[in-house]
């Protein structure tokens, strides 16, 4: 028999603590596969943020640093700027982390054109703290802190981070992908690879926004969660490349 598919060496052996069916796991795997395929595991330093993925430092098979809530881009900047040029630095951040408390840090990392790669996991909610509203929660979405559904008059409209950052000259590659089915997972991986290649080629800031699920706090099962991404999230967060300096976008 020939091997078609196996667990990547880009991840450690540790079982993850994620809830059943949480697509954080898929995104971890894709990043791990890309690190392995590009043969950069040993050159990479990852930055884990605060959110359900806080323990990412146990899961990626490369050197890892854990950053304060929202500050991963600043930590990554510190690392990237002092290490030899051939080192690869990425952050892995949730939407609460990146788009709420960490808004200033991500905007400025992008504006500076920091040559880092950001994996931005948008699951429209705060997972780790028990399902509060995120800046990315959809209008009408009920969460622990929007018990009557997100109301534009009270809480404003969802922030579309890819579109926001794409306005900055320093941002080189920005794509939004999803994990709601096998085809989009394959596409997501391609985007992640493109982002790491952007960094490898010294082109500056790259970010992949990955739409992801939180079955636990959405209160639906893992499969329904994938459908929710497809039917509810993608219309609000259209997939596609928002910035590709090399591709002339």
């Amino acid at each position: 028999m020939e091997l078609v598919f196996e667990r990547t060496n880009g991840l450690t052996e540790k079982p993850t603590h994620y809830c059943p069916g949480c697509t954080h796991g898929i995104i971890h795997r894709l990043v791990g596969e890309v690190l392995e395929e590009m043969d950069i595991i040993e050159d990479t330093v990852g930055v884990a943020s605060v959110g359900c993925s806080v323990l990412a430092y146990d899961y990626f098979n490369c050197d890892m640093t854990q950053a304060a809530h929202g500050r991963a881009p600043a930590v990554a900047t510190g690392i990237k700027r002092v290490l030899p040029k051939d080192r690869i630095v990425f952050t892995y951040q949730g939407d609460g982390d990146l788009a709420s408390i960490g808004m200033a840090e991500i905007v400025h990392a992008a504006a500076r054109g920091e040559n880092i790669t950001v994996i931005f996991v948008n699951n429209a909610i705060y997972g780790m703290t028990g399902g509060q509203m995120a800046p990315t929660s959809l209008v009408g979405q009920k969460t622990a802190t929007s018990p009557f559904g997100r109301d534009i008059a009270l809480q404003g409209s969802p922030i579309r981070v890819s579109e926001l950052l794409a306005t900055l000259d320093g941002a080189s590659y920005i794509e939004r992908v999803s994990t709601h089915d096998v085809a989009s997972i394959i596409k997501a991986k391609k985007a992640i690879r493109k982002a790491f290649e952007t960094q490898k080629n010294g082109l500056g800031f790259s970010m992949v926004e990955v739409l992801s699920t939180c079955p636990t706090n959405w209160g639906i099962d893992p499969k329904e969660s994938l459908d929710w991404v497809k039917e509810k999230m993608i219309p609000e967060y259209p997939l596609g490349v928002y910035k590709d300096v090399k591709g002339g976008k």
Binding site: D63, A74, G78, L83
Partner: protein
């Protein structure tokens, strides 16, 4: 190199460069902006990097990143900016990362004023951030002393894997004095084999982290930190005794205030009052020994600070009830004058002599 006339803020910066610090991340704030500007010019000359962060919060987290990658790195700010760094400092402690943090203190609270002050003593010595920790804090009194203390600060940071504070005040930052940069032999320090620089060439992945979800682990980690603090207390206390040998009264002051106090003490001795001074140089670990050695014999202590009374608590803890501990402080950027201090000494000594 000989003597040069420099501003305190620039001396801090140049001393850091001499101590092998090539990386600086910071955000401008009066009265230490010259330090930032100096670094912007100077670090590229030594092949280092100066980066102006978007905020103090970003700066301390960039420092966290750079420190985790194993380089000597520093940041600087003044009071409100240092308050913003408290979460980041607690993270540096938790992840045991070496870094040097400068606070050129100004008057508070709030936006306060931009005049010199010493009212962040508590914040620096008792842990302004959350959790149980201590940070070595050094307070130079002259620009020349800065040169030595910066070197010590970086060495101690690396030796114990801890952030280190240098506490100055607006006056120290703004004044000019001649200084000489002497070369010092590099200290013997453990290799930074914990730094997250990529695994090529070494074993498995390394992790920089302050999270320990299991309280058992976190307690072990805290015990490890406390042991480290005991070691620092043993080895890194610094202070100056000035005319304490025969003293009936002792003034306690640090930083620029100690210089003013010295003048007052000279004047008091001229008036026949036997008064000396204990000048803590390390504010934490606080020098308890000189108090243990004097508290039996002297009659009283006078703590002088540019604050409403902060170090005086540590003085009281060290004196532990043996003798009265008096306090004289000025706040809000006002600087105690030599005359004021002299008057307080005379009062302590029991009236006009």
């Amino acid at each position: 190199m000989g003597k040069v006339l420099m501003k305190g803020n620039e001396v801090i910066a140049e001393a850091a460069v001499h101590a092998g610090c090539k990386y600086y991340f910071g955000y401008p704030i009066t009265p230490q902006s010259e330090l930032v500007a100096y670094m912007a010019k100077r670090l590229p000359e030594v092949g280092g990097l100066f980066l102006q962060a978007e905020s103090e919060v970003a700066a301390i987290n960039m420092v966290y990143g750079a420190a985790s990658a194993g380089v000597r790195v520093m940041t600087s700010s003044s009071s409100p900016g240092v308050s913003l760094k408290q979460e980041g400092i607690s993270y540096l402690v938790g992840a045991e990362l070496p870094a040097v943090i400068i606070n050129v203190m100004r008057g508070g609270p709030g936006l306060g004023s931009i005049q010199p002050s010493q009212s962040d003593y508590f914040q620096a010595t008792k842990g302004g951030g959350h959790g149980d920790y201590q940070i070595p804090v050094f307070a130079p009194a002259t620009l020349q002393e800065i040169v030595d203390l910066m070197q010590d600060a970086f060495d101690i940071a690396d030796r114990y894997r801890t952030p280190v504070y240098i506490l100055g005040d607006g006056m120290l930052g703004q004044m000019m004095e001649p200084v000489e940069f002497t070369e010092r032999k590099a200290a013997e320090l453990p290799p930074k084999d914990w730094a997250t620089t990529g695994t090529r060439g070494d074993g498995g992945p390394k992790i920089t982290n302050s999270l320990r979800l299991d309280p058992d682990d976190l307690e072990k980690h805290n015990n490890h930190l406390q042991e480290k603090y005991s070691k620092i207390k043993e080895n890194e206390v610094r202070f100056e005794n000035y005319l304490t040998e025969d003293a009936d009264y002792i003034v306690v002051a640090y930083g620029t205030v100690s210089r003013i106090a010295k003048n007052a003490i000279k004047k008091a001795r001229e008036k026949g009052i036997k008064v000396g001074m204990i000048r803590p140089i390390s504010l934490w670990p606080f020098p308890e020994k000189p108090f243990y050695e004097t508290r039996e014999n002297v009659k009283a202590y006078l703590t002088v600070e540019m604050s409403a009374g902060q170090m005086v608590e540590d003085v009281r803890l060290a004196v532990n009830g043996y003798k009265p501990v008096h306090f004289y402080g000025r706040t809000g950027g006002m600087v105690p004058s030599q005359e004021d201090i002299l008057a307080e000494i005379i009062k302590m000594a029991g009236g006009d002599q």
